[in-house]
Symmetry: C2
Subunit: 207 residues, 2 copies
């Protein structure tokens, strides 16, 4: 059975998983939706509704198994598997995100790097050489890359869209401040401005 | 009258504004909720509901004025004003975000910088000197900083919490991969992992 799960629910799953991980590290075995809701500042009913999309977890009045639920969420998200990642753009933001993956998300393996700037080509980051466009394109079309991380300026995006569409890349994590849509690919458009502007709303509307 | 507007609505406003800006650049004067919904891939009814939280825009059957609605959303968000911003952490991620502000969000003025690494102290970025902790703390407590951008590792966050709480900083844009709560301050916790993991869900659940 395939049921539709809203984007809002999917985007909340990693946060549940983070809090469960931290509870596990503190030695907690069981947690009720009420307790979890309190530490996460959401309602118990939202937690129950969100998790019900993926079948039953825990027993009424008994709570969730912290480790079991965390592991199950990891499986649902697919973060228990490993992924080959390519960066297009190896400037400061690209390098910062490489550091982030190495420190926080080791299941995402940095496999290929590309930058149009000749002075960066040939340099190694995390043991991976920065390719020129030609060599990189061959690698990408050659297959084996699951996710492309785009950290190039917005005006360079059109030049890589076709390449990504032709490849068997499955997903694009797009930091190029564009709204990218690529046929047959999942794209997560990261608009840093949006969250800064939402923060700005909140500082202008104190409780 | 002060009505409660959900986080989900607030987080969508900057996206509406981006699309309106792009319509304006294309020379479009009026847009219906149906047309806007089509280019943004959301329903017309969601657009109308979201905007109704902030009073009436446009006339039934007549559409929204593109420039007027964009400007009004800017006022609601408060992004028509300028803000003084301080960075705690001037590594790659901090520098990438400084570049981002300069290129995309010039109303957020880089005013003070701090890093605990002596080799970075005294260097200038965007015409602002990187302070040591002591000098920076004086500046922050001295007032005039609206937003702190945190780009330090998670284990350094506790050391700056008190300082921020004592200051008259209004908001924190937190990239330190922690869930920070500071009494009396608005905090936007940016968890890069959450969006990467949501993308991972989508590549594992093709349509």
């Amino acid at each position: 059975m395939k049921t539709y799960v809203s984007d809002a629910v999917i985007k909340r799953l990693p946060r549940y998983r983070r809090f469960l991980k931290s509870l596990k590290e503190q030695g907690t075995d069981k947690v009720s939706s009420k307790q979890l809701g309190e530490i996460m500042d959401v309602t118990a009913s939202q937690i129950r509704q969100d998790l019900n999309h993926f079948g039953g977890f825990g027993q009424q009045g008994y709570g969730y198994g912290v480790e079991e639920l965390g592991d199950r969420l990891g499986e649902i998200l697919g973060v228990d598997k490993t992924y080959n990642v390519a960066f297009i753009g190896c400037g400061r933001l690209g390098q910062a995100l490489m550091n982030f993956l190495i420190a926080n998300e080791p299941n995402y393996k940095i496999t290929a790097l590309c930058d149009i700037r000749p002075e960066l080509q040939g340099r190694e980051i995390a043991g991976v050489k920065i390719d020129n466009v030609e060599d990189f394109n061959k690698k990408l079309i050659g297959g084996g890359i699951d996710i492309v991380i785009l950290t190039i300026p917005a005006d360079q995006v059109e030049a890589v869209r076709d390449l990504i569409e032709k490849s068997d890349v499955k997903g694009v994590w797009n930091f190029s401040m564009t709204e990218m849509v690529i046929k047959g690919k999942k794209v997560m458009n990261m608009h840093l401005s949006d969250s800064l502007q939402a923060l700005t709303y909140y500082i202008n509307h104190p409780d």
